[in-house]
Assembly symmetry: C2
Amino acid sequence: MKVENNTLKQIGEKLAKADSVLLFPHIQMDGDALGSSAALCRAMRNAGKEAFILIEDDVPEYLSFLDNGYCTKDQDCIREPDICICIDCGEVSRFPERQQTFFRGKTTICVDHHTTSQPFADYNYIDGGIAATAEIIYAILAAMDIPIDKEIGEAIFTGISTDTGNFQYSNATKESHLITASLYDAGIDHAHIAVELYQNTRLEKIRITSKILDTLEVFADGKAAIAYVTQDMLAQVGAKLEETEGVVETLRNIKGVEIAAFVKEREETLIKVSMRAKTSGNVAEIAAQFGGGGHVKAAGCTFRKELEDACLQLKEAIKKSLEKAEA
Amino acid sequence: MKVENNTLKQIGEKLAKADSVLLFPHIQMDGDALGSSAALCRAMRNAGKEAFILIEDDVPEYLSFLDNGYCTKDQDCIREPDICICIDCGEVSRFPERQQTFFRGKTTICVDHHTTSQPFADYNYIDGGIAATAEIIYAILAAMDIPIDKEIGEAIFTGISTDTGNFQYSNATKESHLITASLYDAGIDHAHIAVELYQNTRLEKIRITSKILDTLEVFADGKAAIAYVTQDMLAQVGAKLEETEGVVETLRNIKGVEIAAFVKEREETLIKVSMRAKTSGNVAEIAAQFGGGGHVKAAGCTFRKELEDACLQLKEAIKKSLEKAEA
């Protein structure tokens, strides 16, 4: 799981010596990417350094509470940064428009917990066994003896809690809970974070979810579920395709369902499919049949045909996969 | 918050001396009531004692994994129990059909974390500042030096994680995380528990949720949301009224919504209403206008009229409450 890593102490020392730090979360940032970045940015500023989070796409609204004047799209916000550090992204393709700026850093650092990561920076700390990059940030701050204040604590909590599905996913560890426990000493208001993250659902998301569930079909003796969304459906309620996130998990969570597929019409003949398996199913294998890929329990693929045809082909493949697994 | 309590040590010593222990979770048991009971029952059996969980209503299916031969409805399963201990229920009305049996115990004990609890047993440990009764069970076992095995750990984890909404609710504490961290040492499979608890949704629940969301109406300038379910709707998809649990939270989670109301037709002119407030709203006050009650952020009331009339009256009251709050 581990690549050739520097020590947290080495990374901490580099950061301690720097006057300016530019941080790079991955595109389509999530709670861990932005939470980790915000925590480190705030800590660097608390330590008297110039620090910014350089982004290329927008901060999602549900995470906007984390951006306390840290995020900028101005690639020249720091002209000659001592350190450029990419956070929660272990591939340069995850910050495509910011690569040049990244390598302008006098020292480059990468901290990440994705197993697919390959080291490309001067200093690296990549560990696929850690639940969230926010835990690595916590450990770096500890190595640097930088105190965790409420804001840093809440940003780290956001990273850990979102990446572990509120401590439910298999990646959550004893360490995740020990770190979280210590964040309470910094005065975090975890319930407030939950309101920010989960109690600001757009009405349009509710409407489109309801519409999608109307298309829900359970097949293969109740072992598989499929549902779809079309551009028409999105237009009817004014929802965005991104707002269908979470639907495939709802399908997987149906009792008896082993494999769930959610079929998204991006354009008339551009169909994206997300799949999930509950326990024994293997959706990576099904996705691979259509040129897609992913993990055993979460995978996806693309069809260049009409939605109806894509659904038919997919259902056949799912049925066969389930039959094979039973045999 | 605390009532006159015995110490955990005193309670532990009583349990240690007993040969037989009968456990009483509250009716309509939840993850904490049954998880706490299962943890203690297993621990007592591990210590060589006769132990059973006496119930009067059925174990909900999503919690059935906790019942490893512990639950019985046979009030004579232990004829003369040394100890009767009620768990997560601080009022005798919460085990109505088992009261007589409870007081047959040579010693009675009550452990609970509900602030409304009044001591009625020989020994009591009631603390409203604790997130889950499962944490009290953990502390009792620690006081007794009884080791936590995987099964006990998973039952305690179930109690803590369900009662804190996966560590999101304001009741979760540093201690909740520290205890959970230590449960990992017992080898708990927290991801498996999440599958048991949350990935076994009945298809009928999905169907009725979708139908209910079709009735969703947002009013009062987007600050209030209301939706309803009728007996007809339930019959159409074969769902039970209990399966609409969680809908009112979905309504509250809509961006901008401060007050959410979910209106349930129990019979043609028996309408039950659940309400939630997000931050500043006060639903206890609204419920009180109709003879109901509850907390500021979670309350309910009953109408003895047709659903449509109930909705109209309710909407008026909600609008007025929001206007008053703004003024």
